[in-house]
Amino acid sequence: MDSSRRRILQLLGVSALALTTKPVFNAFAKEAVSAEAESVIKAGAQALKAKQWAMVIDTRKFKSEADLQPLVEACHRIHNVPRLQNKRHEIKWIWGTRYHNAFPGKAAQFVAESVEHRPFLVLCNHCENPPCVRACPTKATFKRESDGIVLMDFHRCIGCRFCMAACPFGARSFNYRDPRPFIAETNKEFPTRMKGVVEKCNFCAERLAVGRLPACVEASRGALSFGDLYDSESKVRKLIKTNYTIRRKQTLGTEPSVYYIV
């Protein structure tokens, strides 16, 4: 091919023209999109905010297992938690246990009778360093950056149960069966779960988003307090400052956010 000056100039001209096509295409493409204005996604105006939500449980106010029942009921009712008789299939978000089960390693040979016989309310600790989150292969369970709640995205859960093995508190339950037939009274505003996913307490994230405190706190008549762990003026910090509190399995370093006044 003989490349005369004229030929080269022609090629350069055509190439320069080609370079202008992209901006032109972009301009057309943009116009088509902006015909419909953009939508915005935001948090609700009444949503409660915190750096790390925390709970303080005043165990002195619970005398027997029956005192815990209204709290457990309140939680399980609004979250459509099924009631399965078979212990191996049981689903629980919040439940009562005894001192030596809740605090293994802390219980001495002889303990104050009041503590020994007192029921302890246990739930997901929403750890600051949650081992379940590290174990999850699909990021179905995650620590929410905005408020420190350890949440589950049930859409993503593949039911591998690594998180259950990783959680030192047994806070997670697996749906071995379809839970729907075992929900006595369904709350229509909250989804159920399906067979094959893990579930646990969500610190009532759906209620915090509309400015309400968790259901168990509301039902506790003052025995449970809820607030921001990193706000030195918050209710929980004030309680922690003025009372002796313990946390479950603190030595494991998961930094639980649920404190117990004993």
């Binding site: 915005v40 948090a43 929410r144 408020d147 859409h155 369904t186 989804p191």
Partner: protein, 129 residues
């Protein structure tokens, strides 16, 4: 090329069999279903976005809603007209579209898609309360 007739006959039979579904069903294409609106949806006239947008993009919209609500805790959707909606399949979408069988299922069956939204989300929160 001694087997010319045999090959051609074979080819013709093969083509007839392969194209059987096409000529057998010729002119009998199932009509696209019309989703039925509830009186409440009719009264509202417009969904969170325009009907065309919802027809084409409702799955992407729901996907964005899901991630935003579950993972970021942002639950309010402001549409281009400035109207606010609670981003909830059960409580917002299915509040108007409370007729899953006539609204959702018709098109999903036609398009042979099987979304599993309803294994967890309750079909019609308002009707049954």
């Amino acid at each position: 090329m001694n087997n010319k007739t045999l090959i051609v006959t074979g080819l013709v039979i093969f083509l007839i069999i392969v194209l059987f579904p096409f000529w057998y069903m010729r002119g009998k294409a199932a009509p696209a279903p019309e989703p039925e609106l509830t009186p409440k949806a009719k009264a509202a006239q417009v969904c969170v976005r325009s009907t065309e947008y919802m027809k084409a993009e409702h799955m992407q919209l729901l996907d964005v809603w899901r991630d935003s609500v579950v993972r970021e805790g942002k639950r309010i959707y402001v549409n281009p007209q400035g109207k606010e909606f609670d981003m909830s399949l059960s409580n917002t979408c299915l509040d108007c579209h409370s007729n899953k069988a006539e609204f959702c299922d018709r098109c999903h069956n036609y398009a042979s898609v099987r979304p599993y939204c309803w294994s967890c989300h309750i079909e019609n929160p308002k009707e049954k309360t």
